[in-house]
Symmetry: C2
Subunit: 512 residues, 2 copies
């Protein structure tokens, strides 16, 4: 067994089932070794950001680590933006980067670069398997780190891949330390305060179990339920308690949080302004609000919430057993963020996985979808656009029996449009709703927010995508995905119905 | 004047004429300020790798620094692969990256990351303008560094952009130190040795002046002329001395260099193997060869060669005044690397700029094009694929009156296909010859070279792009570039003739 096989065998034994790959010469021993480790399915991406975003999406859905295989420093660089999103989601992604053979570094070959330095900002762990004999142990360390803290990057020189590895001895990963949650203080704050209180849920506090516990706490204490703005994964619909999502724009977020006496964080970080502006506050939390962390991002928010429910003597939540009323389906009219949201929320099937990178167009969807059938919602955790189509790729590989809906803005889709080819290649059941407003609308809004709405020609040109317009139907079909243009609700309803009932990928371009 | 305007004013005063931008919220003061500094033309790219590659291409042609404007760490990350190529080309690229306002870092907002660490591996200089008052000085420092050593990255927090800058006082850049070239030793080696000798030309030793001096030296001393494998910029055709290009595959490179007693480097690094292989040497240079550096990569190879020509008492080169015989135009037959190369070399007009990222398909072109009319050749300096279409973008912006030909492989084009939109947006006269072999052919060759030609299904799947085939005509037209599919030489000749005689972008998909 060579080092490459030792890496893959160790990964397979640790539960890795997929490798989203864009390899080059320095990864060829691993490419060849994939044929010896059939538990790991190779999936080709034509750009590295597709691979890392797909690994993120797969791991969010499967809960097991997913592997991305990239080529040297430039290949890793192309994958970093979606590793940034995975880092914010704390997703267990194992990124394996081939490097030149150890004795070749001295020659500074054209593709040489400092891979470990590139990896550090977007990784929870960076390591190198310098020799084949280290490959198994280092791989196991990387996977343990990825499970605990998010993306881990393992650098594997070519000689460490091709040399003989010797016997594999992988020490067992240490069991996670038992967590103690400050439940009594949270219960005291929620039950003895005079002013409004809220739970802010994120991370592992957005599972059905966690949401039901949160709903019981809210009934018992009168607190409000909020969710973080961009959850890595949230279960929704089918009568689950539906926290109000903290709005992205700072003024609206301040309006939601402004009257709180108490804010209890469960799996969520304290909210901050996405961006800073002159003479505006840096967080949406009011000065008079007491912030208490019940469970951190890496802790089990569901367990913490069940303990808190017990501490506040919460009873059963009658709402949890009643179905929600279905979303009313619009039947006519122009396409708008509101009408698109309503059609999607009304038509999405039970068990759908909705990947939301619709940005400005998508804001109307979230509240409506609370009444949709049970489904999973995956958001843009790190704000690095180009996440949606790759994340949908990984989610569809992880759950081939569920309908995946990529709810997607046009500006952000352009960064990683190569994912559409992988949708076609693998026959993934991804329906892409491509919302074409033909602008960086969010930047136009930010210009207005910053008092810069009077744009000159340069500023107008750098936020406008209408000259020329992108034809997403042609782009999709150029990569093997059937596409269709939709301009009214009358067209959207049958087109989305047909797309969702047909296996394999589809793209609908929604002209706003 | 705020800090943003101070940056742009300083850049304009230092000769910057273009800003290839993909901005976000943290760059909006710079976006707005572009309207106050009309010397700098803003050009929008829909992916950051387009912007950095275009800045590289522009600066290679214009010889003046070009600016790329990117958004935070993830935006920079997406631009790093082409900064890697620019670093290997030592191109004066000024990358400006917006950052969160200084007092916002403590909140670790979702898009926060360590930008300086990300930038370091692909930059010759990294700095931060922490305050608006520093903006002008830091910008001038960055541009000086970029001129001397290649890509410089300047990080500009949002508050340093929006705050008032105060008076601009930019110290003059220090004059470059005069260089002394070891001419006598080079002359001695070339004139007194017993065995074969060669000049290996790269960097600034590939200008017409340098090539003519090299030709005279070769006539006087009998030495051979070689060029580096992937030159940043080389003038060719029209009777210019045509060095033999050092082959990419290691065995062929060793065959070219194996008998040399002396190798004199002029603006080129000592050649190395692109990749290491088990039990194969790491460089193509034989042990018995004496390697002498006449001029380093950052030195003026043309001056060094003219001094060397004088030292070896070289006479005039009669070849330099005679035209070359034109390339014979094939008129029929199947498309192959050889027939495509012959058609291109025969039809390319005088003054063409040929950007070569055709990889395996392109290898037949270089020798033939020596007999073409005078033209400029730009190569993939760093081996990070996805360089061709962006580089052609920048070259066309720099030289709007010259025909730009993007000689492009399909696998590599896919990484930065968004450049086609900018071709259309700006009406650039770029003709893309998209060679579709529908595989990572170079990896299939590397597998064979490494003795791994017997591929299993996983290895076959990860090097094959034929399922589904990409339709590049649809992709081009989806981004506003007229496209046409070509399958024979009979079709290629009129299609290329028409594309080259029509202003604006065109894409020809050549099915191999």
């Amino acid at each position: 067994m060579n080092g490459a096989t030792a890496l893959l065998r160790t990964a397979a034994d640790a539960g890795v089932r997929v490798c989203f790959a864009n390899p080059g010469t320095t990864e060829l021993p691993l490419v060849v070794a994939l044929d010896d480790v059939p538990e790991i399915r190779p999936v080709l991406g034509l750009f590295e950001g597709v691979c890392t975003g797909a690994a993120d999406g797969f791991a969010r859905m499967a809960g097991t680590p997913a592997m991305a295989l990239l080529h040297l420093g430039p290949g890793l660089a192309n994958g970093l933006a979606n590793l940034h999103n995975a880092r914010r989601a704390r997703t267990p992604v194992l990124t394996v980067v081939g490097d030149h053979a150890t004795d070749h570094h001295v020659h500074d070959a054209p593709l040489e670069s400092d891979i470990a330095t590139l990896a550090a900002p977007m990784s929870s762990w960076v390591g190198t398997a310098s020799r084949a004999a280290e490959m198994a142990v280092r791989t196991a360390e990387a996977i343990t780190a990825a499970r605990q803290g998010g993306p881990a990057t393992l650098i594997v020189p070519a000689d460490a891949q091709w040399d003989a590895a010797g016997p594999m001895e992988v020490p067992a990963a240490p069991p996670p330390a038992p967590a103690a949650y400050p439940v009594a203080e949270a219960a005291r704050l929620l039950t003895t305060g005079d002013g409004p209180a809220a739970l802010l849920l994120g991370g592992g506090a957005l599972t059905p179990t966690a949401l039901r516990a949160a709903g019981r706490i809210a009934l018992a204490t009168g607190c409000r339920l909020l969710s973080e703005t961009f959850p890595a994964r949230m279960e929704r619909g089918g009568g689950l308690p539906a926290p109000e999502r903290l709005p992205y724009p700072l003024p609206q977020a301040r309006a939601v949080l402004g009257d709180l006496e108490t804010l209890v964080l469960v799996g969520a970080r304290a909210p901050v302004a996405f961006f800073a502006y002159p003479d505006q506050p840096r967080t949406p939390i009011a000065d008079h609000t007491t912030v208490h962390t019940l469970a951190g991002q890496s802790q089990d928010g569901a367990v913490a919430l069940e303990q808190l429910a017990e501490a506040v003597a919460a009873g059963a939540d009658p709402r949890a057993t009643t179905g929600s009323s279905p979303v009313e389906l619009p039947t006519s009219g122009p396409l708008s963020p509101e009408s698109i949201a309503a059609v999607l929320a009304a038509l999405q099937p039970e068990g759908a996985i909705v990947v939301d990178e619709a940005v400005t167009t998508g804001r109307a969807y979230f509240p409506l979808a609370a009444a949709a059938p049970p489904h999973t919602y995956l958001a843009l955790t790190g704000g690095s656009i180009g996440q949606g189509l790759p994340c949908a790729t990984g989610a569809a590989v992880a759950d081939p029996d569920r309908a995946v809906i990529a709810f997607q803005a046009d500006g952000s889709a352009m960064y990683t449009l190569q994912a559409l080819w992988t949708h076609a290649r693998e026959g993934l059941d991804v329906t892409t709703l491509l919302c074409a407003n033909r602008s960086y609308r969010i930047l136009q809004g930010e210009l207005a927010h910053a008092g810069l709405a009077e744009r000159g020609p340069a500023a107008a040109a750098l936020t406008d995508l209408s000259s020329p317009t992108v034809d997403w139907v042609l782009l999709a079909e150029g990569m093997g995905v059937p596409g269709r243009r939709v301009t009214t609700v009358e067209e959207l309803v049958p087109a989305l119905t047909e797309a969702l009932s047909t296996p394999g990928p589809r793209l609908l371009e929604l002209i706003l």
